[in-house]
């Protein structure tokens, strides 16, 4: 059954491999995926270690509902101490790897030590083998997978791999699977690279028994309809996630020229409908009927004829908005390159845009760029910088270190221009007019990121009764709620609620697009309770699932605090408070965040969590969640 998948401890230094069952009591506490990874991370990683040294631990897992009849139950989670931030490293990606790992018998891998030479893991029906990786070292993400399939003689093998960026320890390198499923943010690719672990190949044919098969079938049929009938899913199935960039740019909620404008005006050439002209069809992840991923062939230039998938909305931000470019080809090529190198598109785009502003300000000169004209709007320079970062050449070597280390090397107050939190660059969005979204990126456990807690439906101006319905379950809430995204009131609760929503869904291994992320009518705790029961037999109420999420999020907080995080780290760049927005719809012009109000929001957010004014979980909170004795080393 879905609960009998094992955990494997793999020591790359010694070659030892040990497998164990995962006790039911631990499942009930942490479910699986990100939640259990966070528990393992807190228990297996010693405080203060070098994230790129052999003491760091790479955790690879599948969510508890992966491979079952829970729509889009496809997600792989990878965790460890982040080489980028030094705090929680955590990434989640779709595709087909996680289901395959489960069919091969495993839910969690705990990878320790460092291999002497490049290796890859081969997981096959309950067995794990460490294999020589010399034939794949130095290869792109796509080449690596083709070579491994050839070597293992099975075209159905699914592979999680790093690219050249991961090998070169770019601190925001991705783990990847298939053509473009990207485990981005927080540099888990560099973590694997530091262990000389190029890839993990999985293939399995072991049954995952469904607890109540006919009910699971009927319920899944119903829930797919619930998902695909949502307008947001239909738009996404047609235009991909690009529509998100279109909608936010229309309002003026995106970063342009690093952080100088909040809208890319005259952007007709790169808006979703225009990019759709390059689309040759849609594809998607395991078990998903939304199919939000576009397929395209690069139409011209040095990469003409290359088949690629995407781009996603973050790529429009990275290759158009942030560097101030308006060429669709730059987006198509940039997207292809980061997916081949295994680079985080968000971080790469942000780092380049930051360097462009430094160049404009004279902090970086053409001497630093080896003659490259790094001005805003220079498409060729943007693409060239991707190559330099992945291969750590010239300025690329400095930018590969992430914002904090790079700013230290560059000096001259360059940090002032960086839009980052906890050492992770923000995605392409501009949160000055949206306090709720700003609070989300300021407090996110892995840094400046939207997938920890972004209440994106806050942008929809939903009527208060609808908000009330959503946000007062599964735990009651009778505080303020506001339909206006420019307000500060009630937003901390929304951020807290979405934090729990995304943590829970990451434990289950379902895609966030199938939750109350972009659509108010999409599933959350109540639906997951049923999915858990029909598929695994586990009886957990919506509130039980919420409590698991709270437990896991508190462990993330404990990990960060152990690594030195303080309240000061839950804060944004001064530019959010000092430089007003200039463009966009009238309602978002001339906006800054208010420091005092923002501080109060953080207080309130801590209070919802049961944390003290310094953001430290109170002893009674930890007791209530049963994690006051961590690390407990149950696994």
């Amino acid at each position: 059954m879905a609960l009998n998948r094992k955990i494997a401890y793999i020591n790359l230094t010694t070659g030892e491999i040990e497998t164990k069952p995962i006790p039911l009591e631990i499942r009930k506490m942490f479910l699986g995926g990100r939640g259990l990874d966070m528990y393992l991370m807190y228990n297996h990683i010693k405080p203060g270690i070098d994230p790129l040294g052999p003491d760091n631990v790479a955790l690879v897992s599948a969510g508890l509902l992966v491979g079952t009849l829970a729509s889009a139950s496809a997600r792989t989670h990878v965790a460890g101490k982040s080489p980028l931030t030094g705090f929680v490293g955590s990434t989640n990606m779709g595709g087909f790897f996680a289901p395959e790992m489960r069919w091969a018998g495993f839910d969690h891998l705990v990878i320790k030590g460092k291999a002497e030479k490049p290796v890859y893991l081969w997981i096959h029906n309950g067995e794990i083998e460490i294999r020589d990786g010399s034939s794949i070292w130095g290869k792109t993400v796509q080449e690596t997978q083709e070579i491994i399939r050839e070597e293992l003689g099975d075209s159905d093998v699914k592979i999680l791999t790093i690219g050249i960026a991961g090998e070169n320890l770019v601190r925001y390198a991705n783990v990847m699977t298939e053509l473009k499923n990207a485990g981005g943010r927080s540099g888990m690719g560099a973590l694997l690279g530091s262990k000389n672990l190029k890839a993990i190949a999985a293939r399995g044919t072991m049954d995952i028994k469904i607890a109540h098969p006919s009910e699971a079938l009927e319920y899944n049929r119903k829930i797919i309809r619930q998902i695909t009938s949502a307008k947001v899913s239909q738009t996404q199935g047609r235009l991909g996630t690009n529509f998100i960039w279109g909608a936010t740019n229309t309002q003026g909620l995106v970063r342009v020229r690093n952080f100088q404008l909040n809208q890319l005006e005259d952007s007709d050439d790169i808006e979703p409908e225009k990019l759709d002209e390059f689309n040759i069809g849609m594809t998607g992840c395991f078990g998903c009927q939304v199919h939000c991923r576009g397929k395209y062939i690069i139409p011209s230039g040095p990469y003409a004829g290359v088949y690629a998938e995407g781009p996603e909305y973050t790529s429009i931000g990275a290759w158009a908005g942030e560097p101030g470019c308006r060429n669709p080809l730059t987006i198509l090529v940039g997207n292809h390159l980061v997916n081949s190198y295994g680079l985080d598109t968000l971080e790469t785009g942000s780092m380049i845009a930051w360097a462009m502003e430094l160049y404009e300000e004279g902090i970086l000169t053409s001497k630093d760029t080896d003659g490259l004209d790094l001005r805003f709007g220079n498409d060729e320079a943007v693409i060239e910088m991707v190559h330099r970062i992945a291969n750590r050449k010239g300025l690329g070597d400095i930018l590969a270190e992430g914002p904090l280390r790079a700013a230290k090397k560059i000096g001259k107050n360059s940090i002032k221009y960086s839009i980052q939190v906890k050492g992770m660059s923000n995605l392409h969005s501009d949160e000055r007019p949206t306090p709720a979204l700003a609070l989300g990126i300021a407090t996110g456990s892995r840094g400046s990121d939207h997938l920890r807690s972004r209440p994106a439906i806050d942008l929809y101006h939903l009527p208060e009764p609808v908000l009330r319905k959503i946000y007062s379950q599964p735990v009651p809430y009778d505080g303020p709620l506001s339909s206006d995204y420019r307000d500060y009131e009630g937003k901390p609760w929304q951020v807290f609620w979405h934090e729990m929503c995304y943590e829970a869904v990451d434990c289950l291994g379902i895609c966030k697009y199938h939750t109350t992320f972009l659509g108010a009518t999409l599933p959350n705790f109540e639906e997951w309770s049923k999915l858990l029961y029909y598929n695994t037999g586990l009886e957990m109420s919506p509130l039980d699932i919420w409590t698991v999420a709270e437990r896991c999020y508190n462990i993330e907080r404990l990990f960060n605090i152990r690594e030195g995080l303080t309240r000061k780290d839950d804060w944004l760049s001064d530019r959010y408070f000092d430089e007003p927005t200039t463009v966009g719809i009238p309602g978002v012009r001339n906006k800054t965040l208010d420091r005092e109000k923002f501080k109060k929001m953080i207080d309130e957010y801590y209070e919802h969590h049961g944390w003290d004014e310094n953001g430290v979980p109170r002893p009674e909170t930890l007791r209530r969640l049963g994690i006051d004795k961590e690390p407990s080393h149950m696994l």
């Binding site: 009910e215 909608a247 229309t250 005006e265 952007s267 109540e526 200039t582």
Partner: protein
């Protein structure tokens, strides 16, 4: 299985063929197939696209106003430096 969840109950209030004006947030229904539409409430003009025949989407604003503002902002910044 049959008990209605919160999300399902919210789905009952779904409106087809409409979107919220991104300026005044009133729900408006452009005529089918329209490529531009002026919000009848606030007068803001939008470019409209139709991902599906009965699913309209705001494609973007009509740019002139925004372009002027962006140019002013960049000019002001450059002036401040000199």
């Amino acid at each position: 299985m049959n008990q209605e969840t919160t999300s399902e109950s919210i789905a009952k209030g779904r409106t087809l063929g409409a979107f919220r004006c991104l300026n005044c947030f009133v729900r408006i229904s452009p005529p089918k197939g329209a490529t531009t539409y002026k919000c009848p409430h606030c007068g803001f003009e939008w470019r409209v696209s139709w991902p599906l025949p009965d699913l309209p989407r705001i494609r973007g604003p009509v740019w002139e106003v925004n372009r002027r503002l962006a140019e002013e902002a960049i000019a002001k910044k450059k002036k401040g430096k000199k």
